[in-house]
Subunit: 96 residues, 2 copies
């Protein structure tokens, strides 16, 4: 393979990263809305049963090459960041 194909592969990575970025932020917006619904309902933001379901979905749909453990670790980081997004939102609400 040539340098050219390395450039080609990198272009594909660049395109995927932009898609990942867009998807993560779209996910973030939905999680913010879920936070608002839960606040109205007075239910707890953190739901370990729901998190377990999401991690099971990752396992059941993983076609590799990443191991399920690696992907579940990445998704846990995404869940953690999402939960923090809701916390910041609540703090903003308190300041108003």
């Amino acid at each position: 393979m040539s340098n050219q194909s390395l450039e080609g592969l990198r272009s594909q990575i660049d395109a995927i990263d932009l898609e990942l970025l867009e998807l993560l932020n779209r996910r973030g917006k939905i999680v913010e809305n879920i936070g608002k619904v839960k606040e109205e309902q007075g239910t707890n933001r953190y739901d370990p049963v729901r998190e377990r379901q999401l991690l099971d979905t990752v396992r059941d749909n993983n076609e590799g090459p990443f191991s399920t453990a690696t992907l579940q670790h990445l998704f846990k980081q995404i869940f953690k960041a999402s939960l923090e997004l809701q916390k910041v939102d609540n703090q903003k609400t308190l300041l108003v």
Copy 2:
């Protein structure tokens, strides 16, 4: 908002997570190919300049709600997992 809309929002999250999973694995496959090209060329797998470029792209294209710092942290985890994927591949090669 009702329970119904919480379910609707969660369905959207489920769909996004499957897309994220598919994109991450597609990214993983391309990174494996990049690893092979680099191995042929005898160049180092880890390229801090390239990683910096990717992180700058995240910053330049971030429309929120996640902070750039949070997203860059997530992408660093993805880069780390990708690099480990190449390591495992090399180990497999050695075993053959």
